[in-house]
Amino acid sequence: MVLPLVLQCAINKNMQENLNLLPQNLQISKGLDSVLKTSKALGVILIVVFIVFSLGTGAFFIYSKITLNNVQTNVEQLKSQVKAQEGSEQQLVLLKDRLAKISSIKSTPNASKNIINMDILFRNMSPSSTMNQLEVTPTKIGVSMLIRSNEDLTAFIKNLKTNEMFNVVNLTSLGYSMNAGYSVIVSLSNK
């Protein structure tokens, strides 16, 4: 086949260039072509990543569901075991409730402590000195005494001074007679 001369010259001239036989309206630029290739490759990669992601999350979801079922089964078994111990639980709750209330009661002021410790007021005193009257409340002790000798009076005052239970001591009355001795009325409080 003999080509026309003009066409042969054109072919020779373009031997170094790309041959494009597409119609002009179907041609795209080189930059756009590379962008399209990249986007296609990116599309493939994204599809692969999506499939891997879907499979991974699916597998993780199934694993989580199985774990949840196992734990819930175990919880139900434990619940039935705890319910079987309900009698012990009631007794423990009752015990803790009582102990909390007893602890609260013990912390309230009462006269017992004052009465038990009032002996310290009469230390080192002779039996001849007597207590006429004693009034004890949770916060106060009132004592009326007949003290026969100076030594007993000294011991009583010393006991008042050294006691650590009451920080307020009021000497309400102090009388003296030759026959009876000292008549003392003292009020102690811890206000």
Binding site: L26, Q27, I28, S29, L32, L36, G43, L46, I47, F50, F53, S54, T57, G58, F60, F61, S64, K65, L68, V71, N74, V75, L78, K79, Q81, V82, Q85, E86, G87, S88, E89, Q90, Q91, L92, V93, L94, D97, R98, L99, K101, I102, S103, S104, I105, K106, N110, A111, S112, I115, I116, D119, T130, M131, N132, Q133, L134, E135, V136, T137, P138
Partner: protein, 229 residues
């Protein structure tokens, strides 16, 4: 319409053809990702709650098994020390026993229930006169602290003449209603603390009344009022 599509430049068509799958995949990613994350977060949350319940129940079961004996005897002791109803009879019985032990005369016993209750704790005031030597009266007063139900001396007026005392005494004895409910199954329960064990030992030493009081119910099954009799 067909003409409009044919008139679109080829470069635009190719751009659309390559971008459209990308766009679709991204949309799928967003939808599937959001759905998957929601579902997985939900399941993981349920697992977290279930594991917490499992841990609580395991500890609770262990505690209940270890304190079974202590709580059985302890609740009985504690109920004797702090009864659920008016303990006037037990107190009067205990005070008479105490007076007999200390060789003092006890008379004029009267008991009144106080309305001044706090924290569901009520008390009974018992007043009486005590006649005897001062040492015996003091011993009696000291003994009041050692009786069950828990009783304290509220007030004492002692008049003494030649070593012989006459005391007007008011004691306070406590009682409290029983708890109305028990914790739910998954609610944690703790063992007795050291201070609670110490307190239990202390109240275990209190002298018991000869008058019996009924023990708390320990029947199985869930009761609306588990401690009710």
């Amino acid at each position: 319409m067909t003409n409009m599509v044919e008139n679109v430049p080829e470069s635009d068509k190719r751009v659309l053809k390559s971008i459209a799958p990308l766009f679709i995949i991204v949309i799928l990613f967003i939808i599937a990702g959001k759905f998957a994350i929601t579902q997985i977060t939900n399941v993981r949350g349920q697992i977290s709650v279930a594991k917490k319940n499992q841990s609580v129940l395991t500890d609770k079961l262990k505690t209940l098994r270890s304190v079974a004996l202590v709580s059985e005897s302890g609740s009985s002791i504690a109920l004797t020390a702090l009864p659920k109803s008016n303990p006037s009879l037990q107190v009067i019985s205990q005070l008479k026993m105490l007076a007999s032990t200390n060789l003092v005369i006890i008379e004029g016993l009267r008991s009144t229930v106080s309305d001044g209750s706090t924290d569901e704790i009520s008390h009974v005031k018992t007043s009486f006169n005590l006649i005897g030597p001062r040492d015996a009266v003091t011993a009696f007063i000291k003994g009041v602290d050692t009786i069950a139900p828990i009783t304290f001396v509220e007030k004492m007026d002692l008049v003494e003449d030649t070593g012989f005392g006459s005391a007007s005494i008011t004691t306070k004895t406590y009682f409290a209603s029983l708890p109305k409910t028990i914790p739910t199954v998954t609610q944690p329960i703790t063992d007795l603390t050291a201070s609670e064990k110490d307190l239990l030992t202390q109240i275990g030493k209190l002298s018991q009344s000869v008058i019996d009081i009924p023990a708390a119910s320990s029947t199985s099954g869930i009761n609306a009022n588990p401690f009710g009799l």
